[in-house]
Symmetry: C2
Subunit: 207 residues, 2 copies
Amino acid sequence: MKFSSEFADELDELLRWRRDVRHFRREPLPDGLLESLLERAALAPSVGYSQPWRFVRVDESERRSAVIASFERANAAALASYHGDDAHHYAQLKLAGLREAPVHLAVFCDEATRTGKGVGRATMPEMLDYSAVMAVFVVWLAARARGIGMGWVSILEPDIVTATLEVPTDWRLIAYLCIGYPTEENDTPELARTGWEHRQPIEILAR
Amino acid sequence: MKFSSEFADELDELLRWRRDVRHFRREPLPDGLLESLLERAALAPSVGYSQPWRFVRVDESERRSAVIASFERANAAALASYHGDDAHHYAQLKLAGLREAPVHLAVFCDEATRTGKGVGRATMPEMLDYSAVMAVFVVWLAARARGIGMGWVSILEPDIVTATLEVPTDWRLIAYLCIGYPTEENDTPELARTGWEHRQPIEILAR
Protein backbone atom coordinates (compact mmCIF):
# COMPACT_ATOMS: atom_id res chain seq x y z
CA MET A 1 0.00 0.00 0.00
CA LYS A 2 1.57 3.26 -1.19
CA PHE A 3 0.39 6.76 -0.37
CA SER A 4 0.95 9.66 -2.76
CA SER A 5 2.98 12.72 -1.84
CA GLU A 6 -0.22 14.75 -2.32
CA PHE A 7 -1.87 12.67 0.37
CA ALA A 8 1.11 13.09 2.71
CA ASP A 9 0.92 16.87 2.19
CA GLU A 10 -2.81 16.88 2.89
CA LEU A 11 -2.18 14.84 6.05
CA ASP A 12 0.14 17.65 7.16
CA GLU A 13 -2.72 20.08 6.59
CA LEU A 14 -5.04 17.88 8.64
CA LEU A 15 -2.54 17.86 11.51
CA ARG A 16 -2.28 21.65 11.31
CA TRP A 17 -6.05 22.16 11.29
CA ARG A 18 -6.81 19.46 13.87
CA ARG A 19 -6.89 21.91 16.83
CA ASP A 20 -8.91 21.64 20.01
CA VAL A 21 -12.37 23.16 19.53
CA ARG A 22 -14.29 24.90 22.32
CA HIS A 23 -16.81 26.80 20.18
CA PHE A 24 -19.49 24.53 18.75
CA ARG A 25 -22.68 24.91 16.78
CA ARG A 26 -25.56 23.08 18.47
CA GLU A 27 -26.55 21.26 15.29
CA PRO A 28 -26.47 17.46 15.79
CA LEU A 29 -24.17 15.18 13.84
CA PRO A 30 -25.73 13.19 10.98
CA ASP A 31 -27.14 9.81 12.06
CA GLY A 32 -24.50 7.11 12.30
CA LEU A 33 -21.52 9.44 12.01
CA LEU A 34 -20.34 9.09 15.60
CA GLU A 35 -20.63 5.31 15.34
CA SER A 36 -18.49 5.33 12.20
CA LEU A 37 -15.86 7.42 14.00
CA LEU A 38 -15.76 4.90 16.85
CA GLU A 39 -15.28 2.02 14.42
CA ARG A 40 -12.27 3.87 13.05
CA ALA A 41 -10.97 4.37 16.60
CA ALA A 42 -10.67 0.60 16.81
CA LEU A 43 -7.88 0.90 14.22
CA ALA A 44 -5.68 2.68 16.78
CA PRO A 45 -2.50 0.97 17.96
CA SER A 46 -2.87 -0.92 21.23
CA VAL A 47 -0.30 -2.68 23.35
CA GLY A 48 -0.40 -6.42 22.67
CA TYR A 49 -3.57 -5.80 20.60
CA SER A 50 -5.38 -5.27 23.90
CA GLN A 51 -7.94 -2.80 22.44
CA PRO A 52 -8.71 -1.43 25.93
CA TRP A 53 -10.65 1.66 24.79
CA ARG A 54 -14.26 1.89 25.95
CA PHE A 55 -16.53 4.68 24.66
CA VAL A 56 -19.53 5.98 26.53
CA ARG A 57 -21.83 8.47 24.88
CA VAL A 58 -23.35 10.85 27.39
CA ASP A 59 -26.82 11.92 26.26
CA GLU A 60 -28.85 12.14 29.47
CA SER A 61 -29.25 15.75 30.58
CA GLU A 62 -28.77 14.87 34.26
CA ARG A 63 -25.42 13.30 33.50
CA ARG A 64 -24.33 16.17 31.30
CA SER A 65 -25.28 18.62 34.02
CA ALA A 66 -23.23 16.69 36.56
CA VAL A 67 -20.22 16.81 34.24
CA ILE A 68 -20.66 20.52 33.60
CA ALA A 69 -20.89 21.14 37.37
CA SER A 70 -17.67 19.17 37.83
CA PHE A 71 -15.96 21.29 35.16
CA GLU A 72 -17.13 24.47 36.85
CA ARG A 73 -15.79 23.40 40.24
CA ALA A 74 -12.45 22.27 38.79
CA ASN A 75 -12.17 25.41 36.69
CA ALA A 76 -12.88 27.67 39.67
CA ALA A 77 -10.22 25.85 41.68
CA ALA A 78 -7.76 26.24 38.81
CA LEU A 79 -8.49 29.94 38.51
CA ALA A 80 -7.84 30.34 42.23
CA SER A 81 -4.35 28.87 41.75
CA TYR A 82 -3.26 31.72 39.44
CA HIS A 83 -2.27 35.22 40.47
CA GLY A 84 -2.01 38.64 38.91
CA ASP A 85 -2.03 38.85 35.13
CA ASP A 86 -2.23 35.07 34.79
CA ALA A 87 -5.42 34.97 36.86
CA HIS A 88 -6.94 37.77 34.83
CA HIS A 89 -5.97 36.02 31.61
CA TYR A 90 -7.14 32.57 32.78
CA ALA A 91 -10.56 33.94 33.70
CA GLN A 92 -11.02 35.03 30.07
CA LEU A 93 -10.09 31.70 28.51
CA LYS A 94 -12.85 29.50 27.15
CA LEU A 95 -11.61 26.04 28.00
CA ALA A 96 -14.57 23.82 27.15
CA GLY A 97 -17.63 23.74 24.91
CA LEU A 98 -19.65 21.42 27.13
CA ARG A 99 -22.86 23.45 26.98
CA GLU A 100 -23.03 23.74 23.21
CA ALA A 101 -21.48 20.54 21.83
CA PRO A 102 -24.15 18.12 20.59
CA VAL A 103 -22.05 15.08 21.51
CA HIS A 104 -20.40 14.33 24.84
CA LEU A 105 -18.21 11.25 24.66
CA ALA A 106 -16.33 9.77 27.60
CA VAL A 107 -13.41 7.46 26.86
CA PHE A 108 -12.25 4.92 29.41
CA CYS A 109 -9.50 2.33 29.58
CA ASP A 110 -10.51 -1.11 30.82
CA GLU A 111 -7.63 -1.72 33.21
CA ALA A 112 -8.79 -5.30 33.82
CA THR A 113 -8.98 -6.44 30.22
CA ARG A 114 -7.44 -9.80 29.41
CA THR A 115 -7.46 -9.11 25.70
CA GLY A 116 -3.91 -9.36 24.42
CA LYS A 117 -2.92 -11.56 27.39
CA GLY A 118 -0.73 -8.86 28.89
CA VAL A 119 1.82 -8.67 26.06
CA GLY A 120 4.00 -5.56 26.20
CA ARG A 121 2.82 -4.15 29.49
CA ALA A 122 4.61 -6.05 32.24
CA THR A 123 7.29 -3.37 32.70
CA MET A 124 5.26 -0.43 31.33
CA PRO A 125 1.65 -0.98 32.50
CA GLU A 126 0.79 2.58 31.47
CA MET A 127 0.84 1.33 27.86
CA LEU A 128 -2.78 0.29 28.30
CA ASP A 129 -3.83 3.88 29.01
CA TYR A 130 -1.66 5.12 26.16
CA SER A 131 -3.53 2.80 23.78
CA ALA A 132 -6.82 4.44 24.72
CA VAL A 133 -5.21 7.86 24.21
CA MET A 134 -4.33 6.93 20.64
CA ALA A 135 -7.91 5.85 20.01
CA VAL A 136 -9.00 9.33 21.12
CA PHE A 137 -6.60 10.85 18.63
CA VAL A 138 -7.98 8.68 15.81
CA VAL A 139 -11.48 10.00 16.57
CA TRP A 140 -10.08 13.53 16.49
CA LEU A 141 -8.40 13.16 13.09
CA ALA A 142 -11.22 11.19 11.49
CA ALA A 143 -13.72 13.78 12.75
CA ARG A 144 -11.71 16.76 11.52
CA ALA A 145 -11.29 15.18 8.08
CA ARG A 146 -15.12 15.34 7.92
CA GLY A 147 -15.42 18.95 9.10
CA ILE A 148 -16.27 17.98 12.67
CA GLY A 149 -14.45 19.51 15.62
CA MET A 150 -13.44 17.96 18.90
CA GLY A 151 -12.36 19.38 22.22
CA TRP A 152 -10.71 17.38 25.00
CA VAL A 153 -11.86 18.52 28.45
CA SER A 154 -9.50 17.59 31.28
CA ILE A 155 -10.60 20.23 33.79
CA LEU A 156 -12.84 17.70 35.50
CA GLU A 157 -12.93 15.58 38.65
CA PRO A 158 -12.32 12.10 37.19
CA ASP A 159 -13.82 10.26 40.18
CA ILE A 160 -17.04 12.22 39.92
CA VAL A 161 -17.32 11.81 36.16
CA THR A 162 -16.67 8.08 36.46
CA ALA A 163 -19.27 7.68 39.22
CA THR A 164 -21.79 9.74 37.26
CA LEU A 165 -21.50 7.46 34.25
CA GLU A 166 -21.83 4.25 36.33
CA VAL A 167 -19.19 2.34 34.41
CA PRO A 168 -17.44 -0.80 35.69
CA THR A 169 -15.05 -0.11 38.56
CA ASP A 170 -12.01 -1.24 36.54
CA TRP A 171 -12.55 1.43 33.92
CA ARG A 172 -10.30 4.49 34.19
CA LEU A 173 -11.35 7.82 32.71
CA ILE A 174 -8.92 8.78 29.96
CA ALA A 175 -10.77 11.57 28.17
CA TYR A 176 -13.99 13.53 28.13
CA LEU A 177 -14.70 14.81 24.64
CA CYS A 178 -16.97 17.44 23.14
CA ILE A 179 -17.76 16.75 19.48
CA GLY A 180 -19.72 18.79 16.94
CA TYR A 181 -19.48 21.27 14.10
CA PRO A 182 -17.18 24.16 15.06
CA THR A 183 -18.32 27.77 14.76
CA GLU A 184 -14.98 28.57 13.17
CA GLU A 185 -11.87 26.73 12.09
CA ASN A 186 -8.31 27.61 12.82
CA ASP A 187 -4.80 26.30 12.27
CA THR A 188 -3.39 27.93 15.40
CA PRO A 189 -4.10 26.72 18.94
CA GLU A 190 -6.52 28.93 20.84
CA LEU A 191 -4.01 29.25 23.70
CA ALA A 192 -1.47 30.63 21.19
CA ARG A 193 -4.00 33.04 19.66
CA THR A 194 -4.92 34.41 23.07
CA GLY A 195 -1.24 34.78 24.02
CA TRP A 196 -1.31 32.27 26.90
CA GLU A 197 1.56 30.21 25.45
CA HIS A 198 3.63 30.10 22.27
CA ARG A 199 5.07 27.40 20.11
CA GLN A 200 8.33 25.96 21.39
CA PRO A 201 11.36 25.89 19.07
CA ILE A 202 12.20 22.43 17.74
CA GLU A 203 15.70 22.72 19.26
CA ILE A 204 14.41 22.17 22.79
CA LEU A 205 12.26 19.25 21.70
CA ALA A 206 14.84 17.04 19.99
CA ARG A 207 18.41 16.01 20.62
CA MET B 1 -10.18 24.46 5.55
CA LYS B 2 -12.19 21.64 3.99
CA PHE B 3 -10.99 18.13 3.26
CA SER B 4 -12.39 16.07 0.40
CA SER B 5 -14.20 12.78 0.91
CA GLU B 6 -11.40 11.17 -1.12
CA PHE B 7 -8.91 12.41 1.46
CA ALA B 8 -11.06 11.13 4.33
CA ASP B 9 -11.21 7.72 2.65
CA GLU B 10 -7.45 7.68 2.14
CA LEU B 11 -7.00 8.61 5.81
CA ASP B 12 -9.00 5.49 6.66
CA GLU B 13 -6.58 3.48 4.53
CA LEU B 14 -3.64 5.06 6.35
CA LEU B 15 -5.15 4.08 9.70
CA ARG B 16 -5.65 0.54 8.44
CA TRP B 17 -2.08 0.23 7.12
CA ARG B 18 -0.44 2.04 10.03
CA ARG B 19 0.41 -1.18 11.96
CA ASP B 20 3.30 -1.82 14.29
CA VAL B 21 6.39 -2.94 12.36
CA ARG B 22 8.97 -5.36 13.75
CA HIS B 23 10.65 -6.39 10.48
CA PHE B 24 12.87 -3.66 9.07
CA ARG B 25 15.29 -3.27 6.20
CA ARG B 26 18.63 -1.91 7.43
CA GLU B 27 18.70 0.84 4.81
CA PRO B 28 18.96 4.30 6.44
CA LEU B 29 16.28 6.97 6.08
CA PRO B 30 17.00 9.80 3.64
CA ASP B 31 18.83 12.76 5.21
CA GLY B 32 16.53 15.13 7.06
CA LEU B 33 13.50 12.86 6.97
CA LEU B 34 13.48 12.02 10.68
CA GLU B 35 13.86 15.71 11.52
CA SER B 36 10.87 16.55 9.33
CA LEU B 37 8.80 13.90 11.12
CA LEU B 38 9.69 15.41 14.49
CA GLU B 39 8.64 18.87 13.31
CA ARG B 40 5.26 17.38 12.43
CA ALA B 41 5.08 15.75 15.87
CA ALA B 42 5.05 19.26 17.31
CA LEU B 43 1.58 19.62 15.73
CA ALA B 44 0.18 17.05 18.17
CA PRO B 45 -2.40 18.16 20.72
CA SER B 46 -0.96 18.98 24.14
CA VAL B 47 -2.68 19.87 27.36
CA GLY B 48 -2.60 23.62 27.89
CA TYR B 49 -0.26 23.82 24.85
CA SER B 50 2.45 22.41 27.12
CA GLN B 51 4.31 20.63 24.27
CA PRO B 52 6.03 18.30 26.77
CA TRP B 53 7.40 15.79 24.20
CA ARG B 54 11.18 15.39 24.08
CA PHE B 55 12.80 13.25 21.37
CA VAL B 56 16.17 11.58 21.76
CA ARG B 57 17.74 9.84 18.80
CA VAL B 58 19.83 6.88 19.88
CA ASP B 59 22.72 6.38 17.48
CA GLU B 60 25.64 5.26 19.69
CA SER B 61 26.16 1.51 19.46
CA GLU B 62 26.87 1.20 23.20
CA ARG B 63 23.52 2.78 24.01
CA ARG B 64 21.68 0.66 21.47
CA SER B 65 23.29 -2.46 22.89
CA ALA B 66 22.20 -1.51 26.40
CA VAL B 67 18.61 -1.05 25.19
CA ILE B 68 18.67 -4.37 23.33
CA ALA B 69 20.00 -6.09 26.46
CA SER B 70 17.17 -4.50 28.45
CA PHE B 71 14.63 -5.78 25.93
CA GLU B 72 16.09 -9.27 26.12
CA ARG B 73 15.90 -9.36 29.91
CA ALA B 74 12.34 -8.00 29.98
CA ASN B 75 11.28 -10.36 27.20
CA ALA B 76 12.75 -13.39 28.97
CA ALA B 77 10.92 -12.38 32.16
CA ALA B 78 7.69 -11.99 30.19
CA LEU B 79 8.13 -15.40 28.57
CA ALA B 80 8.61 -16.95 32.00
CA SER B 81 5.22 -15.56 33.07
CA TYR B 82 3.33 -17.62 30.44
CA HIS B 83 2.55 -21.30 30.62
CA GLY B 84 1.65 -24.13 28.25
CA ASP B 85 0.50 -23.14 24.77
CA ASP B 86 0.77 -19.44 25.55
CA ALA B 87 4.45 -19.82 26.50
CA HIS B 88 5.14 -21.79 23.34
CA HIS B 89 3.33 -19.18 21.25
CA TYR B 90 4.95 -16.20 23.02
CA ALA B 91 8.43 -17.63 22.38
CA GLN B 92 7.71 -17.53 18.65
CA LEU B 93 6.50 -13.92 18.52
CA LYS B 94 8.84 -11.29 17.13
CA LEU B 95 8.08 -8.31 19.33
CA ALA B 96 10.75 -5.80 18.34
CA GLY B 97 13.00 -4.89 15.43
CA LEU B 98 15.71 -3.27 17.54
CA ARG B 99 18.64 -5.01 15.80
CA GLU B 100 17.63 -4.12 12.26
CA ALA B 101 15.89 -0.73 12.47
CA PRO B 102 18.17 2.09 11.28
CA VAL B 103 16.59 4.60 13.67
CA HIS B 104 16.07 4.21 17.41
CA LEU B 105 14.08 7.09 18.85
CA ALA B 106 13.25 7.51 22.53
CA VAL B 107 10.36 9.79 23.45
CA PHE B 108 10.16 11.37 26.88
CA CYS B 109 7.72 13.64 28.66
CA ASP B 110 9.22 16.58 30.53
CA GLU B 111 7.24 16.28 33.75
CA ALA B 112 8.70 19.55 35.04
CA THR B 113 7.85 21.75 32.08
CA ARG B 114 6.31 25.12 32.84
CA THR B 115 5.16 25.60 29.28
CA GLY B 116 1.40 26.07 29.28
CA LYS B 117 1.45 27.20 32.92
CA GLY B 118 -0.30 24.05 34.11
CA VAL B 119 -3.60 24.62 32.29
CA GLY B 120 -5.77 21.51 32.13
CA ARG B 121 -3.71 19.22 34.30
CA ALA B 122 -4.51 20.09 37.89
CA THR B 123 -7.04 17.28 38.32
CA MET B 124 -5.68 15.00 35.57
CA PRO B 125 -1.88 15.35 35.70
CA GLU B 126 -1.52 12.32 33.41
CA MET B 127 -2.61 14.61 30.54
CA LEU B 128 1.03 15.64 30.17
CA ASP B 129 2.07 12.07 29.38
CA TYR B 130 -0.92 11.66 27.10
CA SER B 131 0.25 14.68 25.09
CA ALA B 132 3.60 13.00 24.44
CA VAL B 133 1.74 9.82 23.42
CA MET B 134 -0.15 11.76 20.75
CA ALA B 135 3.14 13.15 19.42
CA VAL B 136 4.33 9.57 19.03
CA PHE B 137 1.21 8.77 17.05
CA VAL B 138 1.78 11.75 14.75
CA VAL B 139 5.27 10.45 13.96
CA TRP B 140 3.76 7.04 13.25
CA LEU B 141 1.14 8.35 10.80
CA ALA B 142 3.44 10.84 9.10
CA ALA B 143 6.07 8.13 8.69
CA ARG B 144 3.64 5.57 7.28
CA ALA B 145 2.28 8.11 4.79
CA ARG B 146 5.86 8.17 3.42
CA GLY B 147 6.33 4.40 3.29
CA ILE B 148 8.28 4.27 6.55
CA GLY B 149 7.36 1.82 9.31
CA MET B 150 7.47 2.24 13.05
CA GLY B 151 7.38 -0.18 15.93
CA TRP B 152 6.76 0.79 19.56
CA VAL B 153 8.84 -1.29 21.97
CA SER B 154 7.48 -1.39 25.53
CA ILE B 155 9.16 -4.62 26.66
CA LEU B 156 11.94 -2.65 28.29
CA GLU B 157 13.08 -1.58 31.75
CA PRO B 158 12.24 2.14 31.69
CA ASP B 159 14.67 3.04 34.50
CA ILE B 160 17.56 1.42 32.68
CA VAL B 161 16.70 2.98 29.32
CA THR B 162 16.35 6.40 30.94
CA ALA B 163 19.68 6.07 32.77
CA THR B 164 21.39 4.82 29.60
CA LEU B 165 20.31 7.91 27.67
CA GLU B 166 21.41 10.33 30.44
CA VAL B 167 18.41 12.61 30.07
CA PRO B 168 17.28 15.13 32.73
CA THR B 169 15.83 13.47 35.82
CA ASP B 170 12.39 15.01 35.27
CA TRP B 171 11.98 13.31 31.91
CA ARG B 172 9.77 10.21 31.92
CA LEU B 173 10.16 7.55 29.24
CA ILE B 174 6.96 7.36 27.20
CA ALA B 175 8.05 5.34 24.18
CA TYR B 176 11.01 3.65 22.56
CA LEU B 177 10.56 3.53 18.81
CA CYS B 178 12.13 1.62 15.95
CA ILE B 179 11.82 3.43 12.63
CA GLY B 180 12.82 2.37 9.11
CA TYR B 181 11.60 0.86 5.86
CA PRO B 182 9.57 -2.29 6.54
CA THR B 183 10.39 -5.58 4.83
CA GLU B 184 6.68 -6.04 4.16
CA GLU B 185 3.49 -4.09 4.68
CA ASN B 186 0.28 -5.33 6.15
CA ASP B 187 -3.16 -4.08 7.10
CA THR B 188 -3.64 -6.66 9.86
CA PRO B 189 -1.83 -6.56 13.21
CA GLU B 190 0.95 -9.13 13.53
CA LEU B 191 -0.61 -10.43 16.76
CA ALA B 192 -3.84 -11.09 14.85
CA ARG B 193 -2.02 -12.79 11.97
CA THR B 194 -0.18 -15.09 14.36
CA GLY B 195 -3.40 -15.93 16.21
CA TRP B 196 -2.36 -14.41 19.55
CA GLU B 197 -5.42 -12.14 19.73
CA HIS B 198 -8.35 -11.19 17.52
CA ARG B 199 -10.24 -8.02 16.82
CA GLN B 200 -12.88 -7.18 19.42
CA PRO B 201 -16.46 -6.56 18.26
CA ILE B 202 -17.52 -2.93 18.40
CA GLU B 203 -20.38 -3.84 20.74
CA ILE B 204 -18.06 -4.33 23.70
CA LEU B 205 -16.18 -1.09 22.96
CA ALA B 206 -19.05 1.39 22.88
CA ARG B 207 -22.21 2.00 24.84
